[in-house]
């Protein structure tokens, strides 16, 4: 193992999986790129309006009142005979400036308050949250209309107030993000490293909240433009200053005389707001990474035997179901991703489970052991599917059985115990409800009968007060109890096959020993076959009759438990067994060194 140690330590590092900057991702997204181009154009043209606009925005030509587009007035004239095209450009300046004011105020106020409230908590949090709630309770439009009167009719001051009213959006976002990040271990590590609060905020916290803030800003900017245009449409603001909302109002009052006039201000508002929102989406998508191609699980593109899924399901295979193994997994491949070029995670795995036999699948993370178990259950995560090979349960090919078929099997004949007991119980229902309902559905028994059965099962799995647990919600019981409840649920319909995925990994050792005892007893009582997925050789030694050792999606060795432990055939199995610390020598007293730094390896060599 010493050699293996050095070899693995010096192994080359994995290459970077395409470290792309967020800007580049957004530019590659067609919608994001279009939005960015439109926005840049609108902003650029608005900024250089004095040089770009063919006419002065208030230049009036009597003959051009509501005139159709012409060479002089590119988009025609408005109700007062002014050039619509020039006014749109000039209005862009005013409208965008108003939105900028609102967004800047909202951003600064909301983010700073959010950072302080989230990071320091307590009094700050209480005070700022209170203020934010009050602001959110105020009806923005009405407040703005009222303020417009008292503030003397400047759109910019109204937008500044609107910025304050928008700030709770940023506040809540930043505060919640900061609270989530604050409890990350790396922030604790930074604190132990001796970093000051300001450093921690700037190095760790701001990095995380940065991207959600960018997304929120683009959305808020869109809202600000809409609200501002709305206010102007209602007739607020200086009629002499061109604004998109004001132009919309002018066009609207002349809609019967010149219907197309409403198009231009409407289009520019829509284009700006839509671009902002789409840009925000592109940034969000870029941050989340490419969305997994939507592949239906258990889709059957290339079927090995050329028959359809339905046929495969109905086909009751082989002559004598009595002699067939309970489960036969034959050369299965499991892959993810698109059909032409899937990433295979299980590469030809075969094993049998006889009735009443406990088969362990052992391997390290990434060995494909859990994927193998999920493919038997027909529960591969989104995008995953069996590419080839077959899974036979009691002589019947269930490899490509339709979901409805699998659902029937899973309830009654094949049961499952997960690794994380807590996340597999619904927090909003009582334990009793979650046990009774499936039993009613699968066994077609009355509620009262199911209840009696559930209570008996809870007592059977070693729960001291079944009545109380029956009435409890998942958060009221411990992890060990939750696993017992799930085991009770799994065996409630007397399955023929139980698939347990690291069922004791999340539990304390003393509880683990009890759960292993329980599984052993239930197995001998009910005679079911068990597939036990685990990384722990102690669990294998305790429970399993036969063992499948997996590495990199392949079976390395299949052997009965005694042979595997006392005379392993493969070097990989030996190295795994050698890495267990059961027989490792204890550390010598302080001051004395191990004979070798890798004494453990020596011991097993």
């Amino acid at each position: 193992m010493t050699e293996a140690t050095t070899a693995l330590t010096n192994a080359p590092l994995p290459t970077a999986p395409g470290r792309v900057s967020i800007t580049r991702t957004v530019l590659r997204n067609p919608l994001g790129l279009t939005a960015l181009i439109i926005l840049t154009l609108i902003i650029l043209i608005s900024v250089v309006a004095p040089f770009f606009a063919p006419h002065d925005p208030s230049e009036v030509k009597i003959d051009k009142i509501l005139a159709p587009p012409s060479a002089d007035y590119l988009l025609g004239g408005d109700g007062a005979g002014r050039d619509v095209f020039s006014r749109l450009i000039w209005a862009g300046q005013n409208t965008l400036l108003g939105a900028l004011i609102a967004v800047t105020i909202a951003l600064v106020l909301g983010s700073v308050a959010g950072l302080i409230a989230g990071y320091f908590g307590k009094a700050f949090d209480a005070a700022f949250s209170w203020a934010s709630n009050i602001l959110m309770a105020l009806p923005a439009m009405i407040v703005l209309l009222a303020l417009y009167q008292t503030l003397g009719g400047s759109v910019y001051s109204t937008m500044a107030v609107f910025g304050v009213m928008l700030s709770p959006g940023f506040f809540r976002l930043v505060r919640n993000q900061v609270i989530a990040v604050k409890n990350e271990l790396y922030v604790d590590a930074a604190r132990v490293s001796g970093l000051s609060d300001t450093r921690i905020i700037s190095r760790h916290i701001l990095r995380v909240v940065r991207s959600p803030i960018i997304i929120q800003t683009s959305v808020i900017a869109g809202i600000a433009i809409i609200i501002q245009s709305g206010l102007e449409f209602l007739g607020l603001g200086d009629p002499a200053t061109p604004t998109w909302g004001g132009m919309l109002q002018d066009a609207f009052s002349n809609i019967y005389i010149n219907p197309p006039g409403i198009l231009w201000p409407g289009l520019i508002i829509a284009a700006t707001v839509a671009s902002l929102v789409l840009l925000g989406n592109a940034v969000r998508d870029g941050l989340q990474g490419p969305r997994a191609a939507a592949v239906r699980p258990r889709a059957v593109p290339q079927h090995p035997h050329g028959h359809t899924a339905a046929q495969g399901a109905i086909e009751a295979l082989d002559a004598d179901p009595g002699k067939a193994p309970l489960l036969r997994v034959k050369d299965i491949q499991v892959g993810y991703g698109n059909t032409e070029n899937p990433i295979t995670v299980v590469r030809g795995v075969s094993f049998d489970v006889a009735p009443g036999e406990i088969v362990g699948i052992v391997g390290e993370s990434g060995s494909g052991k859990t994927q193998t178990a999920f493919s038997i259950l027909g529960l591969l995560p989104r995008g995953g599917r069996v590419l080839s090979g077959s899974i036979q349960f009691r002589g019947r090919d269930i490899t490509f059985a339709p979901e409805s078929e699998m659902q029937k099997l899973r309830g009654r004949d094949i049961a499952y115990i997960p690794q994380e007991p807590m996340s597999n119980l619904d927090p909003s229902f009582t334990i009793g409800h979650q046990l009774v309902e499936p039993m009613q559905a699968v066994l077609k028994i009355s509620k009262e009968e199911a209840r009696k059965r559930a209570l008996a099962l809870l007592a059977r799995v070693g729960i001291a007060d079944p009545e109380r647990t029956f009435r409890s919600y998942p958060h009221e019981i411990s992890g060990g109890m939750a696993q017992r409840v799930l085991i009770a649920g799994a065996v409630s319909c007397e399955p023929k096959l139980l698939i347990a995925d690291e069922p004791t990994t999340a539990l304390d050792v003393t509880v683990q020993a009890e759960v292993l005892d329980l599984l052993r007893d239930l197995q001998s009582e009910m005679g079911m076959g068990i597939v036990m997925v685990t990384h722990n050789f102690g669990v294998v030694a305790d429970l399993c009759d036969r063992v499948v050792v997996m590495q990199h999606g392949r079976v390395v060795e299949t052997n009965d438990a005694e042979t595997l432990f006392y005379a392993p055939a493969e070097p990989y199995t030996k190295s795994l067994l050698g890495a267990t610390l059961d027989d490792a020598p204890p550390r010598p007293p302080l001051g004395q060194k191990f004979l070798s730094s890798s004494s453990k390896g020596q011991n097993h060599a």
Binding site: T5, L8, S193, L195, S196, L516, K600
Partner: protein, 287 residues
């Protein structure tokens, strides 16, 4: 490196009580540690073993200054560090460091390994200049290639990430590292290698470890002395081999008997022993 017998303890925790407030008006706080005492010699590993909720992590966090004890004292190298303010606590960063359990959340995903390792050096102005040289030295110490500097944590496996976390802890050459379940999230073979790295570093630098773990065999392999925690109390504390091979307290015995051995025949015997032990300690109703 270490002269054992006469050395004064590096860290002494005495009657440490930690309480968490409970919800509700004037509710009695929940006591996590009921007066725990422990000492660590320079260059020594003290293993702290216990199950979830036993308070072992809380004791580590109290020593790190991340939770405030309600009473009791923690002395480091003769200095009382129980209730330091943030500024004084920051000065301790070159003496006491930490390696957390989860190498996935203990490294900021948006920072490169170089940024992560320079973090502790940043806080010390006098070390800023030599930061780059120090970082490559650290990477070498934990067996990572120097090219790792510009990579992000997600580009590494769990074991490699934990090496980065160890390098960060070593950056300021601390005298004590609190290791909170540092190998529990790792695969078996990776776990053995990371443990060897811990031992190798200790033998070279003379750093002391408080090694928190739920796994008796891990603790046995790395610890000179072992403390067993149960429901906020240390129930057994002594020589590592003695506590982990021939425990005297019933709880430690139960812990030892509960861990399955990777050997079917011996595991069968152990199961039997455990059954007898449980029957002996008064659970009459059990079969």
């Amino acid at each position: 490196m270490h002269d054992t017998a006469s050395a004064a303890p590096l860290l002494v925790a005495k009657d440490v009580v930690v309480e968490y407030p409970r919800k509700g008006f004037r509710a009695k706080p929940f006591q996590v540690l009921h007066g725990v005492s422990l000492d660590i010699l320079p260059g020594e590993t003290v293993g702290l073993v216990g199950e979830s909720g036993s308070g072992k992590t809380t004791l580590g966090r109290a020593i790190l200054g991340l939770v405030q004890p309600a009473s009791g004292t923690i002395t480091f190298d003769g200095q009382d560090i129980t209730a330091l303010d943030r500024k004084e606590r920051r000065k301790l960063s070159d003496s006491i460091q930490v390696v957390f359990q989860d190498p996935y959340t203990s490294l900021n995903p948006t920072m490169t390994v170089g940024d992560i390792l320079s973090e502790p050096l940043l806080a010390k102005p006098e070390l800023k200049g030599s930061a780059r040289a120090r970082i490559s030295e650290l990477l070498e110490q934990v067996g990572l290639p120097s090219g790792a500097v510009d990579k992000y944590p997600r580009e590494f496996s769990g074991g490699q990430r934990q090496r980065v976390a160890i390098a960060r802890a070593l950056a300021l050459s601390p005298r004590l590292i609190v290791c909170d379940e540092p190998v529990s999230a790792l695969d078996l073979s990776t776990q053995a290698r990371v443990l060897d790295l811990f031992i190798e570093i200790q033998e070279r630098t003379g750093v002391a470890y408080l090694f928190v773990s739920h796994d008796l065999s891990v603790v046995r392999h790395i610890s000179h002395r072992v403390a067993v925690m149960f429901k906020g109390d240390i129930v057994e504390y002594g020589d590592g081999d003695q506590v982990t091979s021939h425990p005297t307290h019933p709880y430690t015995q139960k812990l030892l008997m509960s861990a399955p051995v990777a050997d079917p025949r011996r595991q069968r015997e152990r199961r039997e022993e455990r059954r007898l032990l449980l029957a002996g300690t008064g659970s009459e109703g059990q079969p």
